[in-house]
Symmetry: D2
Subunit: 245 residues, 4 copies
């Protein structure tokens, strides 16, 4: 592992996708800054990264607070110049429209869209003066499709996609790569496994070709990072080979 | 004019598109319920509709308050069964990302997306038990494209489109027509004329083929209303014949 | 019925959609020119339109022959100025890729895409000098989605959509309304009923909310025709209210 | 360079993109099979690859002849198992619709769409029994947008995209990665430089950020090849960082 003088910040460093991204960028020599609601839960991730010789800091971070995101990114940038910011906060819920409360609609939006806007803007504030950087956002099938029962979640994900597109168009010419990764399948997490089992029974877990391993999402982000600026992708869709789409 | 026992509610009954919609549905025999931030500004519209023999009520309505929307629609429904709800609140702004404040981002979203969610849900609450109704949303070019400087506006419009899609899929089979009208051009309003003149000079106003008359937007909504349920459109895009797209 | 001095040409006047379009435009006073592979099959349609007091001519027309389309449209235009051309030739097939022959791929394309290009161009040739007209194309779900087994059909329908878009952008400013109607469901035809029964059993026919009546397609074309040029739709999607999408 | 027992076939191995792809896969250890209309023009490419220690065969190939494509791929497969087929035949033309002849429309389609269908099918015939492979198609802005004057070109490119999508959905579960690369900018070729100079003057060439180097296209294909099957991309869009989109 060759250390770089560069930080990769992961906002929404959950146990699955977020953790995999953190590990990947750490193993590639980045100083990783990982934030999630309850920073205590990052202890095993930190241990794992450090055991492998990586650099990592963990922080509690309420993505619904502007000052938390700002402070998190500024601290990351003081460690080493912020080169990559990955926004990975999720908030998947499904309710019939008549049962979708203001509270749910607003909270999902604040977590999955508003926080992404703030993360994008505050990363840009640090990267623009330096004339380089990477700002990546995690999207989902619901970024492109408002399915029945997904008014809250899809609305937030559509909104996040617009934020990403808008700043990609503004900051691309300033040498900042903004990308939006659409994960068009379930990711292999405890929550998804549980939900699939409930909906379709135990046999729905039998087919490993239909659940995306978190490490593959991390690999996709790494591909985006490696692209030369003469051939940047804004939107990258990924799905397992067995997925129906 | 043949009076119907039916109400058409217009949320966001501004001087141009909203007013044209109100006039069209009034002339077709609907009892119109028109709401906007400052209800006093609806005086001329009410006078015009009444002079033509139409039925109309005007209300002050803060679309950012859940209770205002709920009360407005319930009152409309007491007048005569709510058959059409048209959500037409706009909030077009353009700022570089670094100058887009939390305040702007949140306010634009509350007006252009969140209020649409509440309007859709509260209309559904009245229409579902009756097994029929129409819920229409006004979209824009920014509903499909996040241009540079449009992080706030496009994010809200993308989000509104997701709300519309999601409830269209849920409520269509319940005989409620949910549609999203994409106006892919400038509308002929005082504000748009002023902005075009500022950007491109007086000659930018010379070509009437490029500014959509509010009455044509109203006519498009009327077409959506008239569709048989065996051939409903969810998304209708319109632009003047001279528009480059 | 008020007769107009105007012709509506229907290329692909099959027993269902095409016939319904012909009847609608006839009843609205157009001189209808109806063409299909075997013109003899148009006898009942002609009888029905004439019985209702309409004007109609029927022709055999091989849509895969440039000279046939050209001659058909020129003859139509001699009857009365060609004001509407509707291209409605279908060619729905499904084969695994390894069983899709050159012959099938080419024939489907010639019928569903190439013929549409020629029909569009030859209509334009007659309409452009007059500074007005309408050119409409029938699309399908496969115009937007290349499903498994649809390499031939979707490829032709995607291609037809591109033709429509390209000439819409070129001819719109010349006052010619070019539109593409996406029928996002099965249409209620003998062939579709048979296929559904085979795939899913007789009960698949029980739900009339999922099969679009040909008359509703015709009504949609009539809506497109009626749009003022200040608010033209290029792409109109329709589906029955009960359709899952 | 570690030699692999695997062939990468490039159909449409022109001087720019095609040559860059051939060089990339050769340097990664593939036996490269390169075909273009006039195989003599491949002499410098072959020399360059061999000088670098790579394996390459060059063939004359008329992509509009089914038997040529079939023979080319079969021969490639006899050399070493066909693992990658990249279809890269272009045919960019722009004509007003009234000047778009049957000859042009048909030829562009045969080159840019029909030949892609045959290449995809014949690759699949070799890959399916082996249970693995990669089939990649080169797309363009015109794959998604039918601009004015592009009826022929966009129609072919839309059609090719449908072919790619359709076989991706069919063959993905059979472990064959089918992808469609959308190059959303001009590529730095002699032809594009000449055209830009003609349209906008010499200064249009000054900005290197707007012309994509062929090697970057090749790098994108290499990224697609490297993706694990648990996270395949079907459609990859690339553009230079300075591009307006």
């Amino acid at each position: 592992m060759v250390a770089r003088n560069a930080t990769a910040a992961v906002i929404g460093a959950g146990d699955f996708i977020g953790a995999a991204i953190a590990k990947k960028f750490a193993v590639e020599g980045f100083t990783v800054f990982a934030g999630r609601r309850n920073g205590d839960k990052l202890v095993p991730l930190v241990a794992e990264i450090k055991a492998a010789g990586g650099e990592v800091s963990a922080r509690s971070l309420d993505a619904r607070k502007e000052e938390d995101i700002t402070a998190f990114l500024q601290e990351a940038d003081r460690q080493a110049p912020l080169e990559v910011c990955i926004f990975n906060v999720g908030a998947n819920v499904n309710f019939p429209i008549l049962e979708t409360t203001d509270r749910v609609f607003r909270k999902v939006w604040e977590m999955a869209c508003w926080a992404g806007f703030v993360a994008g803007r505050e990363s840009a504030r640090l990267m623009v003066p330096r004339g380089k950087g990477n700002i990546f956002f995690t999207g989902a099938t619901a970024s492109l499709r408002g399915g029945s029962g997904y008014a809250a979640f899809a609305s937030a994900k559509f909104g996040l996609r617009a934020v990403a597109q808008s700043i990609a168009r503004e900051l691309g010419p300033k040498n900042i790569h903004v990308a939006h990764l659409i994960i068009d399948s379930g990711v292999d997490t405890a929550w998804v496994r549980e939900r699939r089992e409930k909906l379709w029974g135990k046999e729905a877990l039998d087919n490993p070709d239909l659940l995306m391993p978190p490490a593959s999402v991390a690999a996709s982000y790494w591909q985006l990072y490696q692209q030369p600026r003469s051939a940047w992708t804004f939107e990258l869709e990924i799905r397992p080979f067995g997925e129906k789409w």
